[in-house]
Structure formats: structure tokens, C-alpha cells
Symmetry: C2
Subunit: 137 residues, 2 copies
Amino acid sequence: MTDTDLLRDRGLRVTAPRLAVLDALEGHAHLDADEVLGRVRTTLPGVSVQAVYDVLHALTGAGILRRIEPAGHPARYERRVGDNHHHVVCRGCGAVDDVDCVVGHAPCLVPSSTSGFAVEAAEVTFWGLCPACRQAG
Amino acid sequence: MTDTDLLRDRGLRVTAPRLAVLDALEGHAHLDADEVLGRVRTTLPGVSVQAVYDVLHALTGAGILRRIEPAGHPARYERRVGDNHHHVVCRGCGAVDDVDCVVGHAPCLVPSSTSGFAVEAAEVTFWGLCPACRQAG
DNA sequence: GTCGTCACTTGAATGATTCCAGAAAACATG
DNA sequence: CATGTTTTCTGGAATCATTCAAGTGACGAC
């Protein structure tokens, strides 16, 4: 399915900024809003900061994008949705990479006592050092 | 061990603001910086905002406090450290509660492929609705 | 094509957190 | 207990990602 069809399918209007954001995240996952803006402006120089934030919100709300918010770092976005994968975040530079869940259906992701909370989702974040930051010491 | 001994034990100086912060978090886990400030000022009215941030950083760095940063909410702090428990966060009001890991040693918390990252820790966050927000609809 | 709705632009505001310089207090020593 | 050094605390301003507000412009149903 083309990005155009994807947007129509979710009931979203097809606009140049939206296509540009999707294109920027194609092959470059885990970009933050500023990086997305930079990439979008290479093809659409006039796009405003808020347009990018609006688009990212709209696409996230429509389930086309997934938003990752590692503690202490700006939010990042990726196109890979719906497969319940997780992330490693580098303590040094904030780089993010994907981690697939080892076990098919995560057994420890069903909490024991939920204190009356209605739990909808579980999110796993691994923290460590990326290869580059390991070398840098 | 008293809080005074605890601070000395970690090589930290014993000051009134530090004791007050520890006291504020005793029995009131998951407070954010502003809430800690409010509680501290009931006993030490003159304490500054930055003093509280400095203290929270110092105690977190010394391993006395644990910092929780749920996406979209200010950071929260708790005294319970070193037992690898996790948290439920309310999508409505941001309330946080503790969740003990179901399985003794979490099986899915060892990532399969780590892309060269040196993984140090795994963090699990459950998202849902607290009892109060469930009733509010 | 026309029109209503939704998206985008410009500009300013917010809120948690941090930076800076100077004053004050805590620990180690004589 | 007096002194000096180091660390902490105060007060004010600054930062950064993100959001709000109001007006202009473009998509797409009819």
C-alpha cells in the first residue's frame, strides 16, 4: 500500500507534509521531531515546526506511527507498529534500536497485583551503551 | 539505619534539606519534584526549588532514590531501590503505583539480539487507568 | 467547480528542568 | 573551639521540547 493510500485508509487527508514525514521515517527509524523536520525540509523547505508536530500527532493517533519517549530524551517516532517490539536506549548518546521480544507472548508482562488499575499495555525499555559510546569509554 | 547514617554511609553530607526530602518520600512514594518541594516546605519554609532538584539528583546518584520518568509526566521519585520492581502509570491522571515482577527472574527481560548494545538494565512500565479515572469515565 | 472542514503558518507561551554567581553551611584538622 | 576548604543552598535568569491561539490556505465530498 502506498503512503497515499495508507493515509486515505485511516481517514486522513493526503498532504505534502504528511507524505514527507512518512518518507523521512522510511528507512530512518527513531528520529526525533527536530530530525524529522530537518529531513522534511530537504524536500519541502517551507514546512513549519508546528506542522511537523501536528503531523506526528495525527499519524500517531491514527496508529501509523509509534511514539517512543525515553526518559531524559526528546520523543522519537517510528513506522513499525503493531508488532509489540521493544527498544534499547543508549545511556551515552540516546541512540535507540529495536529489540524483538524473545518469548512469543511475553510472560512477565502480565502484572500480578495491579492495585485496581486496568492495565492496557506494557512497555519495555532496555538501557545500556551503544557500540560507539562503549569505545568512547 | 537512620537517614543521617544513610547519608554519611554514602559519603554525602548531612543537611536539613536532604533529611527533609528523605522524610517527604517516606510513606509517600512517587512524588514529583514539585510535590517534594511542597512537603519539604511544611517543615523548612525557606527551601529553594533548586535545592530540591540538587538533593534529588544527589540522592539518585548515590542510589538512595530511584527516579521514574513516565512519558508525558514530570519525573517522580521513590525510596524503594534495588529490588527491580516496576510501575503502573495511569493514562488519565498520571498516578503511579508499584508492580512486583510476576516471575522470579523475568524471562522476557533478556533481549535476544542487542545490536551490539551493552545492556545494563530493563525497565517495564504498565499503562492503564487507575480506579478513580475508571469511574470518571 | 463550490464549499465546508481540516491542515498549515506565524508568533508567542508554557512548564519542567538546568545554568550561573555568590552566600552560607558542614566536615576535617590543628 | 577556631579555621579553612569543600560542598551545598539561594535567587534569578535561561533552556529546550512541546503546545496554544488566530488567521490563511488547501483537500475532497457533493
